[in-house]
Symmetry: D2
Subunit: 271 residues, 4 copies
């Protein structure tokens, strides 16, 4: 079997390394999730079971890849931040991109019965993904602000839309009613017509889900900079800065546009 | 909510179009499948249930993407051929790569209980994938020859190895016994020591699985070139060449190194 | 001097190999040549001295790089074909692109006094360049057809325009006169108003310049396929196919859209 | 002339935009300059005429491209820093790379007779070039430190080597003498054997050439940050920060590894 005769085809697999030291964001998006959510009768405007399942799938990614230090999700999309010094898969673009979207998808299908026990999965859902590089911390901040601002805008719009539809309007009428309204008008509509205070809607819907790791309990609270922590299993007590790669992954539904979230976790965006 | 202030971050999503008219191959590989197959007690050297599940996942990809005209799988890997003129996702590399690996993964987990009903899935498996371009038909032929030659080499090696182990050798002893043996010696070992005629082993194990579509029944059998076929639903009877994008997906376990397979399906590699 | 402390910056120089076996075209274009030709009072619509200088610069590229087997130039642009199997600079995109445009530019300035002896060069001209890949011979043919068709269209337009201007029209009037006219009308205008038979205009202006190498005299004339030739300096008389990489570079002003040019030189586009 | 039939070949020209906001470095290198310097009998170890010509060619690049805010050269190489917010040619990699190397080459040949009036240019020299991205200011600093450290190392080595050769050693003997010697030993050799105090060698040879622009005279001297300057021709007296893109290009032979050079020109590496 003349194996060697064919092996030259490997030379066509070209290298695709990502720029060193740049921040890496991987964003996955559901493919055809409008139809998918209809088929599986997701609650509108938000299905908390489906959102929790998305969070669970994102957690699988962070459990597997310690260099993913932050994740943010809304609706059928999730963004993952890989720290800038990461050498994951030698920073090969396709390898990183495909491994993350595959694991996310796998976990989503695997955990489906736990999160939607009474809704059999009708067909295999899928996601696409892309890799985006950002040179500096500012742009990473703005990226996640962009996604959370989007979460708010979409949720406000969808909340109004489904209130109108549930009150008897056709989808066409609902869209027409909302056309051209700004945030303030939408808030007032919710309050006056549907007795809903938008700010009382669960933060999970308004803010999206943010996944980070819990830093070690002995983290030095007195410094606002990156803090040295005890390396587990290091008998000599050598200390090194906490980099966000260890600790339990937790979900928070907080504002990540303001400074507070990031100031509390300076290791996410080291200088 | 100042959405526009953040939207500039979209400019960092750079275009990644693939070279037009080049053949596109997407190859997915199981991540950590050595451990995965151990955990799920796959039969050695080949677990027909797991291989059929791989084929089922590959079929999902071909059912979804008509431009995938051929797929070849062995062990924990699968290669997909996208026809050269495809405009799938405007030939965006990441979009194509991620969508295919995600759907494959999803289908693999979704169909697991059907193919391995008595083996609960312990954790979500995942795959990576890459896109490879080939300028000409010759290189595509050689690519698939390379994979099928690899199938043969690995299967012969593994068949010998597991016969030795099942006969009482340690894995270390088995490896030592096989060290330096060529194909002929391995065939003789199987025959003389284990009464196995390698050529009687199921072709699925020896040849891997090839997925193609069945051409329409009225395909002109007299021409060896690409043949015009009736376009379904076209009342005027307009005819156009069959391109391998329609018809039922079938699995075959055939030699694809020789010319016969390709001569029977000239639409796979149009000039 | 802590050299090693800084050397990590080399890691940011990422690989950029071109797809193997694809045909490589490098096209250079003059930057700001409208102004450049005005400053140096180039004759309109064609300055034969400037065109010959372009050809001379292209010849320098072919003299230096044997893998450049064909070049085609018109106006202030030149296209170079690098044979598909070339390993020039390990097919590094930037290296190939920059080396060719640099040598072309250098030769253009170096030979200027020879070709325009009475026109001192006022400032250094420059060119940009790009690399384009084509998977198959058909696309390479069509690329050069595109450029030669462009040569014809531009030359016919410019010939009419400058005839009108030299006859007393303003450039605005000349443009208005030509607006919306097709090739036939332009030919008739030249003939009836200016007594010019377009086909008698020098082929250098109508067809552009094509550079190829002369094959060895002992090339087998009886085969239309690639022919074996005597390798120079090989005493044993070993013969191998002529690949267009040796022999004197010559300029021709021929039609390269039709088949004849390519049939006469089968080595340019090997299967 | 069926132009449209061929125009599809343009689709093979794929986009190649550089990552936004990253610092861009273009480095050009002489091709075959060992032979070139021999042919033109450059003085060893440094030919001040040839170095000045390199500086002149680099100045042409900065005069043409205002976004090139810094250049550093030694021997037959030059590095250009393009500011991170530059939109030059929409940040197209090949366009930027080829335009700069072409203009540099052109200027080098154009100005040759001025700088080496008694040395006729024997053949057209050429350069290659590459584009390198750096995410942050630190890496840009380290890049230029790398090049200046290299200048020092090479110059010390070459100075010793040519002293030995001029004193009568063969090149082989000179190399052997220098093998394994460190900086200190080389300095001592120069002093004790050749009465040369290395620090008295012209800084142009020891430090390389750095090109920057002179800031406007009314630049605010009291702030260490980027300073607002009067925009020329703006009657309203609107002030904006100086960005290093205007003002006369000057050559300095200074240390650029330490902080001083950069602190004096905070606009080169804005946060």
């Amino acid at each position: 079997m003349a194996k060697s005769r064919f092996e030259y085809v490997r030379d066509f697999e070209l290298p695709d390394p990502l720029l060193p030291s740049a921040y890496i964001v991987v964003r996955i998006d559901g493919r055809g999730f409008h139809k998918f959510s209809d088929t599986h009768t997701f609650e509108k405007p938000n299905d908390v079971r489906a959102l929790n399942l998305m969070d669970r799938a994102a957690k699988s990614v962070m459990d597997e890849y310690e260099d993913v230090v932050l994740a943010f999700g809304e609706s059928d999309e999730y963004s993952f931040l890989i720290r800038r010094q990461s050498q994951l898969y030698n920073r090969r673009r396709s390898k990183i991109n495909s491994s993350i979207v595959s694991l996310f998808t796998s976990s989503y299908v695997y955990h489906w019965p736990t999160y939607l026990p009474n809704t059999p999965l009708q067909y295999p859902p899928s996601f696409d993904s892309r890799v985006i590089l950002y040179p500096s911390a500012k742009e990473v901040r703005d990226y996640f602000s962009w996604r959370q601002a989007d979460t708010h805008i979409n949720n406000l719009q969808n909340t109004c839309f489904w209130c109108l539809v549930k009150s008897g309007l056709s989808t066409k009428e609902a869209n027409k009613t909302l056309q051209g309204t700004d945030s303030k008008a939408k808030n007032e509509m919710l309050f006056s017509r549907f007795a809903i205070n938008y700010n009382h809607i669960p933060p999970q819907f308004r803010k999206g889900s943010t996944l980070v790791r819990s830093p070690p309990p002995d983290l030095d609270e007195n410094t606002s900079d990156v803090k040295p922590v005890l390396v587990p299993g290091d008998r000599k007590g050598k200390r090194r800065p906490y980099e966000g790669t260890t600790g339990e992954v937790i979900v928070v539904w907080e504002d990540i546009i303001g400074d507070r979230f990031w100031e509390d976790r300076p290791w996410l965006l080291p200088p």
